[in-house]
Amino acid sequence: MGVEVLALIYRNLRARPVRSILTLLGIVVSTASMVLFLSFGEGLRKALGAELSTVGPAVLVLPEGVEAFSPGYPELRPETVEALKESASELGISQVIPYVVLTRGGLDPQTAFVFQGIPEGLSPQALYPNLTLAAGSLVPGPKGAVVGSRLAERNQLGLGKVLRLSPSISLRVEGILKPNGGLSDNIIYVPSSVVQEALGTRNYTAAAVGVREGFKADQVAGAIKARIAGVNAQTTGDVLRFAERAVRISDLVRFGISLVALVVGGLLVANTVMMSVYERIREFGLMRALGAKQGFIFGLVLLEALLLGVVGGLLGLLLGQAASGLVNWFTGREVGLALSAITFRLAFFALLVAVVLGLLAGFLPARTASRLKVVEALGRL
């Protein structure tokens, strides 16, 4: 390919600057929106991986039919927890920590409170070994609460402050944790009896099970499922796999939505290039008359669309990166999590989509241009 070809493509786009810029903007915005949409999936994967790596016990025992990320109303019966404890040595279990979760407030992280009830006398470190104390005590008393750093900061909860779990249950803040950079910063740890009282049940949400030395998590989870009726046991790996499946499904949904923007972007390029072909019919006729083959004209037009796709894709990636940074700044401030992440594979995928978009959009105009009859194109009929 000669510099004349590059000059032709570049100068043709520059000769109609407003139209070229508008088309480019179309691709930039559609690529950026796709990048941003898909970056949420990548962010979730990263956050989940980081979150689960800080979880202590390796196996989670849940009532059958309940998944790790949708605990709902507590359904794990105390008898089941007892049965687990009784068979602990036989099943390779080192410890059983039943807990119960209660969420107060709406979806807005500013107003939502997550209470995690843990066995009395136990520190939340038993569940999240990375937690460290900033002030007060790490073990909540019978009517006490240990509060995650971000939640404490957001609601100005100091030591001694009173929290109301229900009209009849009040808790005093006895400990405040240091920031950990994960979801545990937004949790209030309280004795499980308090949460059970508020919910009017003796049940638990789930039980975290530690694995004895010499046993493997998969093995223990299998043994629990075989021995204890009505429960499901998941290892951290199972949870990750489940989460990955869920994130992948949501990826597809988000990609589907962004596909609309991409199709619009593609049609913009196709329209621009097609108009440009019609305006340059004589030029293509002249090239053919001078000896250019059909493939040359096809390539010339396709390259023009491809250039729009690649440049638009790159700029879209940059815009998506900026938008992702903005989202992360916001979610970081609100819930202490970076929700959006632009990984190498996402960037590569976005560019690939932009390139394919350019090629698809350029195909029809390129075919039209290459099939022009020389006499008709030159107006020599």
Partner: protein
């Protein structure tokens, strides 16, 4: 070199068939051949067929030993690139390429390297008296200058055949004279120059004049005296 055998071209115009070229046969020798005739006599259609822009309804165009008019579009393009140069009345230059790049364009198609084609294009522009206009855009050149760039481009790959379709049609007499002088020089160098024109003054400078009427070759006028006059200048 270039030979038309029994060329016949029929167009459908609505429900009527129009014969644009009617049984035209001629073997074009080296030197300047002018094709003249009134509007609608089939000059442009004939040139389209001879140059392979279009295919005849019947008959053939031979380029040396190759049945040119029976080849595919791309094969004709390739032969055009190597063996033919063109100067049209208008729409001669690619508007987004400079004069130099326009001249270099066929050389790029032929796969000649950037350095070589740039040097050769500059030399060709120099030869047509446009050495000082190499970086100019077509719209910054006068009509005569544009035609001279087209001549330089037509000569880029040193083709044996040169087509000129009303090359002076849009020019003032001084610019026209310069263009004619360049074409005559090419004929004198031994190329086959085929000049299509309705300007009889211009045609008189050719060695042969083919007169067309209603698509038919009515008369071939040889001009030995003029030929010798051309050769001696």
């Amino acid at each position: 070199m270039l030979e038309a055998i029994n060329l016949y071209k029929r167009y459908h115009q609505g429900e009527v068939d129009v014969v644009a070229v009617d049984r035209f046969s001629y073997r074009f020798p080296a030197g300047l051949t002018a094709i003249v005739g009134p509007s609608g006599s089939g000059k442009t259609t004939l040139l389209n067929l001879l140059a392979g822009f279009d295919v005849p309804s019947e008959g053939e165009v031979w380029l040396g030993n190759t049945p040119f008019s029976t080849l595919s579009e791309d094969a004709r393009s390739e032969l055009r690139l190597k063996h033919m140069g063109f100067v049209f009345q208008q729409w001669n230059l690619i508007p987004t390429l400079t004069a130099l790049e326009n001249v270099a364009f066929p050389m790029m198609l032929a796969g000649i390297g950037l350095k070589e084609r740039t040097a050769r294009a500059a030399a060709l522009l120099e030869a047509v008296g446009l050495g000082h206009r190499v970086k100019h855009w077509p719209h910054k050149l006068s009509g005569g200058e544009q035609q001279r760039v087209a001549i330089a481009r037509a000569l880029a790959l040193n083709p044996p055949i040169l087509f000129a379709d009303e090359p002076t049609g849009n020019l003032d007499s001084a610019s026209g004279a310069r263009v004619v002088e360049l074409l005559l020089h090419q004929a004198q160098e031994g190329r086959t120059v085929i000049l299509v024109t309705h300007d009889l003054e211009l045609a008189r400078q050719a060695e042969r004049v083919l007169r067309l009427r209603d698509g038919r070759l009515m008369e071939i006028e040889e001009a030995p005296a003029r030929r010798s006059a051309v050769s001696s200048c």
